[in-house]
């Protein structure tokens, strides 16, 4: 038995320790919460400046200053990974004295929300489907393509995708496919259609992308609906289809690493996937095939826009021009396995795996490809609501 005094002392000690414990927990919670809300970029770009350095006078007389001497700063709202200097290396080499700082967006909706809330980024990076909103809300300015020396290297079909209401508001840059990816060892018979995602044979081994509009697109391909004009009845049918699919689906992926891990471990046999996943699995030696479904592939394109009212418009144009450079494009192709809008880059690909991933040897591939149409606000809201009801269904 302990003595009273001794016991009291221990108690006091414990109380003190619990207080310290609670403090430790609170501080760690604060740190980890902070970590969750701001995704850490894969690597900090060398030469990037703190975002406070944007208040620099407009560089109107820039043409007379040699590029190597040009100073100023640019703020870019981009996706994690694209902040690495590899993906703007032409600009970095040509304009070494310009400070480029990055802010990271987690999704198209996140980037749109940030711009909408008054983000001061000079340049931002949305994808096909989301372009109309920026124009409708006056968040983007028309681009003077005569100032882009690399513009003639971009194909007309891609240029057109960057136009809204007949004006060139966006510069196409990275692009890729969405299609069905499957493990050839687990499904020796192969699959031919988007409805492989609904096949009960693959129960517990299917992974769909976590995205309402993506789900509508897949259903539209399978049933031959007009994706730009989905009726209320069709949307109800689509909802029922995905509710039924949920019991077959292992998890909805939201980022490529999640899907890559799932397919590599053998948990996932068949998935909705971008070709970045395909190329990365191939390079890891995982037996996978990326099909051209009978209904056709889907294709998406990443665009750069310049914020309306940006004080650095001239510099931003130079940045976008250099974004279209060959060295930058080669890095996109070789490191992320995405296509580049500069045709010289795509024509220069020799690697067999990459050629396969982009279907470069298939001259008819574009005929089998459905480009993602622009969403309207009503479609975006209705389709996401449909998707949340799929997730919430009992």
């Amino acid at each position: 038995m302990l003595l009273r005094g001794e016991n009291k002392m221990i108690q006091r000690k414990i109380s003190k320790l619990s207080a310290i414990g609670i403090l430790v927990i609170l501080s760690i919670l604060l740190i980890s919460c902070g970590g969750q809300s701001t995704p850490t970029p894969a690597a900090t770009a060398p030469g990037s400046a703190p975002s406070g350095a944007t208040a620099v006078p407009p560089t109107t007389a820039a043409t007379e200053i040699p590029p190597a001497q040009l100073t100023g700063s640019l703020n870019v709202l981009d996706w994690a990974g694209y902040d690495q200097s590899d993906f703007w290396i032409d600009f970095k080499n040509t304009y070494p004295k310009v400070n480029v700082s990055f802010e990271i967006g987690a999704s198209d909706a996140d980037i749109y929300s940030k711009m909408k809330a008054g983000d001061q980024a000079d340049i931002f990076h949305p994808y096909t489907g989301w372009l109309q909103f920026y124009v409708d809300n006056g968040l983007v300015q028309e681009i003077d393509t005569s100032k882009l020396t690399n513009w003639n290297k971009v194909s007309d079909s891609l240029k057109k995708l960057g136009q809204v209401n007949g004006k060139q508001y966006f510069i196409p840059w990275d692009w890729g496919y969405s299609s069905i990816l499957y493990r050839t060892d687990k499904i020796p018979g192969g699959v031919t259609s988007w409805n492989a995602l609904m096949d009960p044979k693959f129960k517990g081994h299917i992974s769909m992308w976590d995205d309402g509009p993506g789900a509508v697109t897949v259903s539209a391909y399978i049933h031959g609906y007009n994706e730009t004009n989905i009726s209320a009845d069709q949307l109800t049918a689509i909802k029922q289809e995905w509710i039924a699919q949920r019991s077959l689906n292992l998890f909805y992926w939201s980022g490529e690493p999640e899907l890559i891990q799932g397919m590599q471990s053998g948990d996932v046999w068949v998935a909705y996937a971008w070709q970045g996943t395909y190329a990365q699995l191939l390079s890891k030696g995982v037996p996978v095939a990326y099909i051209t479904p009978t209904e056709g592939r889907n294709s998406w394109v990443g665009m750069y826009g310049i914020r309306k009212g940006s004080p650095n418009t001239d510099l931003a144009l130079k940045f976008l021009d250099q974004k279209l450079g060959v060295a930058t494009g080669n890095n996109v192709v070789n490191e992320f396995f995405y296509g580049d809008s500069n045709q010289d880059v795509m024509n220069g690909i020799t690697d067999a795996t990459l050629k396969k991933a982009f279907s470069i040897n298939d001259p008819t591939i574009l005929q089998h490809t459905n480009f993602t149409p622009n969403l309207t606000a009503a479609q975006r809201d209705a389709w996401t609501a449909m998707w949340t009801e799929v997730k919430a269904a009992p």
């Binding site: 760690i28 980890s32 970590g35 019991s247 998890f251 009801e389």
Partner: protein, 290 residues
């Protein structure tokens, strides 16, 4: 002078209370009010600060969706299970620390808190490696020859979410119970023993009733945030392990539809408050605390 000392005391109160009040006002109350305001906004068209006519349209849109209500009920049920199990598991730990660990109590407490040295996200990810088909449990079972095919039922379902959340909350729920147990005057046990009460009787009549304020604090500390949880289901829940928080998150991060997201948040907030209010009515707090 008594008046002077009163003034001093009041001054001390404001000096101590004002900084946290300002902080909470700016970073908690204002966002909460903004969310309430946004839930009445018809859409996000136009500038954020332009005038608009308040509407209950967003509430109308989501109130009729039965699956949202179902998921809210399910999330509350999951939170209840998580809170109860976490308390049942952490009570013995707190009891041990308060009465049995002696001089080593501090050391054990630090051991309990060590998981907090890594981020919440990492600890949840660790469970993915525990439960996955190539994870620790499956590898061990395969190594020992118990199974040929990996068990897939461990991960990507609602049970995985509940198990992970219980793990995450155990240290949290231990602390308030420990604090309550420490406040018990040890003389009570001596008196009880003198009067012939056995160990079990002492526990039932002294330890348990006097620990209840801590137990209740632990319960609400776990229950309330768990209702709105979304990170854990996202990582280990798979397609069928979603919680209400994931629906809210989708409206903010996938649809950029702040109005509906805010309306859903306000509904969850109200529902949780009502549940807590009913619970406090059913349990007579005053008699517990006296």
């Amino acid at each position: 002078l008594p008046d002077q000392s009163m003034l001093d005391r009041r001054g001390t109160f404001w000096i101590l209370a004002l900084p946290p009040m300002i902080f909470l006002g700016i970073f908690f109350l204002t966002p909460l009010l903004l969310m309430a305001v946004f839930s009445l906004r018809p859409d996000l068209n136009g500038s954020l600060f332009q005038a608009w006519t308040p509407t209950l349209g967003q509430y109308g849109k989501v109130i009729g969706v039965s699956s949202y209500w179902h998921l809210l009920g399910l999330s509350a049920l999951m939170a209840l299970v998580v809170a109860v199990v976490a308390i049942v598991l952490s009570f013995p730990v707190a009891y041990f620390l308060a009465f049995r660990a002696g001089k080593r109590a501090g050391f054990y407490l630090v051991l309990l808190l060590i998981p907090f040295w890594t981020s919440y996200l990492l600890r949840v990810m660790a469970w993915k490696f525990m439960l996955g088909s190539e994870g620790v449990i499956n590898s061990f079972l395969a190594f020992t020859g118990v199974i040929n095919q990996p068990l897939t039922a461990l991960l990507y379902n609602r049970t995985a979410v509940v198990v992970t959340l219980i793990y995450v909350w155990i240290p949290f729920s231990t602390l308030p119970i420990l604090a309550a147990l420490q406040r018990i005057d040890l003389a009570l046990f001596e008196a009880a023993a003198d009067l012939g009460a056995g160990r079990f009787q002492q526990f039932l009549r002294i330890t348990l009733p006097l620990s209840l304020p801590g137990v209740l604090a632990a319960f609400f500390m776990v229950f309330i945030p768990t209702v709105g949880e979304y990170v854990t289901p996202l990582l280990v829940g798979g397609s069928s392990g979603n919680m209400y928080g994931n629906i809210i998150q989708d409206f903010f991060t996938q649809a950029a539809n702040w109005s509906v997201g805010s309306a859903l948040s306000m509904i969850m907030l109200s529902a949780t408050l009502i549940l807590v209010f009913v619970a406090t009515r059913l349990i007579n707090f005053r008699s517990l605390l006296e």
